[in-house]
Symmetry: C3
């Protein structure tokens, strides 16, 4: 390297010294808005948000004043909210045994009635250290995971555009990151309850994650339905303790509060190589788990079946994606990127509009403000593909059939529509009335620039 | 007033004296047909109707003759229908305690085996006075209510046109007005059973009233599914007795057999001002109920969320209705009112046919015999709107999302179709082949004049 | 008959002597392929098939060697698969009582660990003679029946064309013919479990057989949901033992392991005369069964309601079939039989292609490789018709409404599409762009000649 060149090394250095802190400052400034997360300057919280994200938004509105001891809480609340007190009395908190003192209301909510708080995982983690450490450990594995569910729900660009009512709906489940009573309902907080599938399916149901539907339709789920009354739910989730598996038996075996490390195909929205060395290790963990009841060979065949299903699904998805990318390259998407509301929270898009196709280019754009053919691809990818995946993973074979039949249908529809768009592009000007109306579903209504100004 | 004018007062008086009794006579004559209710001259009951509407149609077909005492009934039926006897023996009727005599079969069914009857609420009400009075009291609040469910099912115009098989289907649930065993199944008639959500969802499920689906998908419903086995169902529906709420806990709190007086948004088919003084009183009753377990502030926020959802829904529905009314005004509906079967049971319609749009102009017309765009509006209003409503009311946020996405889609489709109808109206004569075939779904098949002649 | 003619009788005789054995040889040769059944030369089994059809494909892959006694199995497997051992210990096999010896693992699986087998009904039938004889007796009644479920899944022509993943899905349920643990889950094999509806709905759910959905939505199903916890499932399925009926109570009353002989309308895919003398006998068996709880008259009315519903459904189906047959006769189906993949496993079809319409001409063709209008008819017939049927049979009246509304809609769509096809046939050549793309759903993807080469 010549001396002359070395002399100019201060240029990139100086830029870095200026730009990197500026970036941090920008992110920091962004986060200082009324909302929470990276886009908190773009929206205001609704009053209801306080209950799903108490750390950021909860303010005690109580009119009772005074500082109370736990026993006083109980004595008064026996009249005000007897159900809650009854649950607490039946809980381990009330009777910890071994001469330990009871855990009263004030231990979690505080003792100043004007400044009560809703307990967060940090508060529960003061005593339940193992579980809390395991839960926090999920963050190493990224999303999907319980511990990151809240940040992601708040920090996705498309949430800025969404109507509040729907954001609230999302928050209700994603709040699993902010509070332990998503699974251990208050105020008994029983492990026995959280071991049941019902604890999970409050959130894990419906498209795009029909865990509820596929589990309960599987032989495992039917066994649960028929026999769970005879099972002793006080027992840990360990080999030999349960006749059939539940969500937690497989995904939280031995009670581990970290569900992210064993997942191979994860949420199912991008393709995975199931046979990397890392995934082979995970696979053996699954085979070992299945072997609590099944032959190891049986388990391997089932997992191979899942791989085969996934491979087939992605072949179809890539084919659809290629059709869309070809249309974009030839400027045949209608309406095109510049003819519809801009990509959410992206000033570059207002300068040079660009259709974002598929997962890697921008998940947010796939939901709304897209042309009909892009929306069709989104539904193929997000609903039908994921339905087939969960069917294959949970043993609901009918869901596999339904999902793949739907993907076949989606693909045929996408190819048909692409043909029509190409034909229209060639005839521009003559048969205008056949142009689809751009004010169709996904460009219209609650998911456009209208909301951005009102969120 | 001049003397001259006063002199002619006898004219309206005379008209009233003639017309009013004539109207009563006409209604009375109408009711004297083979069916039941206001349109009873227009249809014949099916044999099966007897079991759903015993007061009007049941005739004992038994071949056993004789008059029997209760103990004789039991002794013989122990062989004929042992399950029923076993249920009765386990019931409060069989063992009323406190030295009271048992209530035998004959008390409700009569003792003449050739003239047995099926018990109606009046018969049960002889002993269960409070419940019966509360039940009958619902009639003050109109429909929807259990006590009026039967009259309305029989007295709607469109039932005259409906195929019998479907009327029977309707009757099965609407018979809740005619017999208490819709909720208290025979012959145990246990209050513990009727307190469970299963007692309600036999009828309250599916569109247009997915109470079943939205409750069981909510956190409340999941809690019920996971834990109801540990609940003591013999306890009344009162604060502190149940860990989670059920249908009856909220809608029939303290066992009140009158569910109509606390409803604000009711069935959800017309818009309501939720903040009238009357509705504010009802709202405070709800907040008080929710406060059995939740903070009052939490409850108010949830109810405000429901109001916001409803407001958004009605904005969409009114917009769709405006599109339809504009088409009607310009005579662009296809097929138009005169080109399709007449509005049911309405001779005026055969003289001057008129499309009836929306709830206030005539609910009956919205179901069948309408043009495709009107049917689309009906489905938007009756299925998607009501699905979103029940989702918001019962805490199934995913149903809110689904319902509103569907309404967005419906609205886009209605606007697209309206555009097409307008364009076709302008081109009349040249591109006839593009006209939709009038023999489409809602003008065809079982819901036309064909049935009227055969019902 | 002249002497001359008699002389030539040896001609047909000779042909028969050659052709009949040749036919048997051909079938025999066909069956000798890698698969199972009549088309076993056309496909290869997947590894997973072994578990659903063990008789044909299972090979023990175990690495443990040695010959063991039952007690040794238990002692070792208490560590390896404790859940299974725990189930066995709680089973009747482990504690048969009356001084009988326990039935150990080896009795069913063999004792040579290198050559273990999965038990088939024949093995269970060694002891459970009555049940096995009843089960085998189903074969007299043809399909649908449990005992023939496997042969039919393997021996249908369209299975040759199907992707393996879907054949596996089918096998999972149809394996009920090959192994008893479809209903009596291993290793407790309890009769109490198999009496519950959950034992049946593992398979009997979803289109085309929504038995699950229609039962649980009926009043019977709701009763089960609310009260089954109080029922004593150790009792036989006999009058007076259960408050409400379950699948098995009605279809396997008194525990009879033969469900095929009492069925009148069977699967619902072809019309039946419900009032033949044979069917009248079956009907009285049903009325007797219903009379365990209901009036005989009530039961007869309900069955008459089912007949009426079926008659109405078939009127619609025949009308749709007539439209399709007319199109075929005029060569207006598009794509026509010769323009699409050939009928599966039919060399005649490659010589003289022919569209097969409706049940009697060839069920296999109705699934895939058909033109859109034929597929619409298939869905009308196989999904909507069967949904209405099961609704009527199981007391879910809302399913009747939904099914018939869907059939009305299907029929309107088929007539509309037929009109379009006729119009296109007349204009051939001028408006080609309006021709539907033949690469639509049912001609495309996994269900064509592509798979045939790879199965």
């Amino acid at each position: 390297m010549s001396r002359k060149r070395v002399r100019y090394i201060w240029i990139p250095l100086l830029i870095a010294v200026i730009v990197v802190p500026a970036g941090f400052l920008y992110v920091d400034w962004n986060k200082s808005g009324s909302g929470a997360g990276l886009y908190s300057r773009q929206w205001l919280p609704d009053a209801l948000f306080a209950y799903w994200n108490p750390d950021d938004f909860y303010q005690s509105v109580d009119t009772v004043s005074g500082v109370f001891e736990g026993k006083q809480c109980v004595s008064c609340h026996e009249g005000v909210t007897p159900g809650i007190v009854r649950d607490w009395k039946a809980s381990h908190h009330s009777n910890p045994g071994n001469g330990k003192p009871a855990v009263y209301c004030s231990a979690c909510h505080g003792d100043d009635h004007q400044a009560l708080h809703l307990p967060t995982p940090d508060i529960c983690g003061r005593c339940h250290v193992t579980q809390h450490v395991q839960f926090e450990d999920e963050k190493r594995f990224g999303f999907p995971s319980h511990a990151l569910a809240m940040e992601r729900a708040m920090d996705a660009k498309h949430f800025v555009d969404k109507p509040k009512a729907e954001v609230t709906a999302c928050l209700q489940c994603h709040s699993v990151a902010s509070k332990c009573d998503s699974c251990h309902t208050r105020h008994r907080f029983s492990a026995a309850e959280a071991r049941r599938p019902e604890a999970c399916i409050t959130c894990h149901s419906g498209p795009p994650h029909p865990d509820d539907e596929t589990y309960f339709t599987s032989a495992h789920g039917r066994l649960y339905l028929a026999e769970n009354r005879q099972w002793d739910w006080s027992k840990p989730l360990r080999k030999g303790n349960y006749k059939g598996p539940t969500c937690a038996y497989c995904h939280m075996s031995n009670g581990k509060h970290q569900v992210a490390d064993k997942s191979i195909w994860k949420f199912g929205i991008k393709q995975t190589n199931p046979l990397t060395s890392g995934n082979k290790v995970k696979r053996e963990q699954w085979v070992e788990l299945c072997s609590d009841c099944h032959e190891a060979d049986w388990s391997r065949q089932q997992l191979a079946g899942l791989d085969a299903e996934r491979k087939k699904a992605w072949k179809k998805l890539y084919r659809a994606e290629a059709v869309l990318k070809d249309l974009r390259a030839k400027d045949q998407l209608y309406p095109a990127a510049g003819e519809r509301p801009a990509y959410p929270v992206d000033w570059l898009d207002s300068v040079r509009p660009r259709a974002r196709i598929g997962f890697f280019e921008g998940q947010a754009s796939a939901f709304y403000n897209v042309s009909p053919i892009e929306r069709d691809y989104f539904e193929m990818w997000y609903f039908d593909n994921l339905g087939a995946y969960k069917g294959a993973a949970h043993g609901d074979q009918a869901a596999v059939s339904r999902g793949h039949a739907a993907m076949d249908s989606d693909l045929a529809g996408i190819e048909q529509e692409a043909k029509r768009l190409r034909s229209l592009a060639g005839q521009e000007g003559q048969e205008q009335y056949q142009r689809p109306d751009p004010s169709t579903l996904w460009l219209f209504g609650d998911y456009t620039e209208f909301n951005k100004g009102h969120n």
